[in-house]
């Protein structure tokens, strides 16, 4: 058993995250699916870093975490403001721009 098993696990988690984004209707859970995809990518980056004996993967994983944290802050603020205007957390109700 080699460390490529981690990469297969990351692929599986990424696919599940994509499934969550496509299927769930609650905005917060959809957002958590995006986080799951980012985390799966981080696992692959860490594994590649170990595979190649190079720290670039770890550095990128850290940077992805920072970007994800910024994304969470802004995204949750948007969810909150939509909820205040619409009283709903469903992705289907956010149709303000629809003609």
């Amino acid at each position: 058993m080699t460390i490529t098993a981690y990469i297969y696990l990351a692929t599986l988690l990424f696919a599940i995250g994509a499934l969550v984004v496509l299927l769930r209707r609650n905005t917060i859970i959809v957002f958590m699916g995006v986080e799951l995809m980012l985390n799966a990518c981080n696992l692959a980056l860490i594994t590649f870093s170990r595979m190649h004996g190079n720290l670039d993967g770890q550095v990128y994983a850290l940077f992805v975490m920072v970007v994800a944290a910024a994304e969470v802050v802004v995204g949750l603020a948007i969810i909150m403001s939509i909820y205040r205007a619409r009283r709903s957390a469903s992705v289907d109700d956010a149709n303000l721009l629809k003609l």
């Binding site: 297969y8 969550v20 958590m32 799951l36 969810i79």
Partner: protein
């Protein structure tokens, strides 16, 4: 991968997948968030097992600590009762979602099967002086510009969140005097709403007050408890000092936790 690490992988890997599936199938957003926290802690342990100790600890601190806390906070504010209608707005969305995701996963696994991965080098030489020191050398020498850009990104994100979360008050807040005058003008609850538990046997806040004719006053129970369905079921026993059982009319008007509509 040593024997211990393989054991860790086969214990923690399925746990992570189960947590991810919990995110997919959980009915309540809080349960989904807890499943997500489990996945994040598991991934952090994986990082530590792969000699990326600093990243692993940051993962557990930042993700399962700060980010999931933020998610739970928003779930608390938005409310767990916000029900999502099960009607599909896009026809066949569920079927196509499954098909596309399975295709994505299958394609990725197929592609990975075709790749000839090199023999793992290991991080022993790369972080000979310790994981944190090696990472710091990398970040503050080669990646220092990216690091500074990320710093400004964080500042901008904080400002954006503040702007989005700020609410401009359009009309001045009604004072107590104005509220009282309004109650008198509309002639509703002139003396204020009845407090829960009045004339009932208990004075807990989940027990509706009893009107003089013995019927429970639903308006006296805090609407949060009504929305959660945490009110005490009526009829009460011993309402009537004579010992007659409460009439059926009182049972019909019992609050049954269907007050979610008036939540808005």
């Amino acid at each position: 991968m040593s024997g211990g690490e393989a054991l860790l992988f086969w214990v923690l890997g399925p746990t992570c997948v189960l947590g991810a599936l919990g995110l997919l199938f959980a009915r309540k957003a809080v349960h989904a968030a807890m499943a997500m926290a489990l996945v994040m802690v598991g991934l952090g342990i994986f990082y530590i097992a792969q000699y990326a100790e600093f990243v692993g600890i940051i993962q557990i601190f930042v993700y399962s600590g700060a980010v999931m806390m933020l998610f739970l906070f928003v779930i608390m504010t938005v409310g767990t009762e916000s029900s999502i209608s099960p009607i599909e707005t896009i026809s066949g969305q569920r079927v196509w979602g499954w098909i596309l995701s399975l295709l994505l996963g299958g394609l990725a696994v197929y592609g990975l099967g075709k790749v000839a991965f090199p023999e793992p080098v290991g991080l022993g030489a790369a972080q000979a002086e310790g994981s944190v020191t090696a990472l710091a050398r990398e970040i503050f020498s080669r990646q220092v510009f990216s690091f500074e850009v990320l710093g400004s990104l964080l500042v901008i994100a904080v400002m954006g969140a503040m702007v989005l979360a700020h609410r401009e008050r359009l009309v001045p807040r009604a004072t107590q005097r104005e509220l009282a005058a309004d109650r008198v003008r509309r002639n509703t609850f002139v003396a204020g709403k009845p407090a829960p538990g009045i004339y009932a046997r208990h004075n807990a806040s989940d027990v509706p007050a009893l009107l003089p004719d013995g019927t429970p006053a639903e308006v006296s129970v805090p609407r949060t408890l009504v929305a959660r369905g945490q009110t005490v079921p009526v009829p009460y026993r011993g309402v009537d000092p004579a010992g007659t059982p409460p009439d059926a009319e009182a049972a019909d008007t019992a609050p049954t936790g269907t007050g979610a509509g008036e939540q808005a």
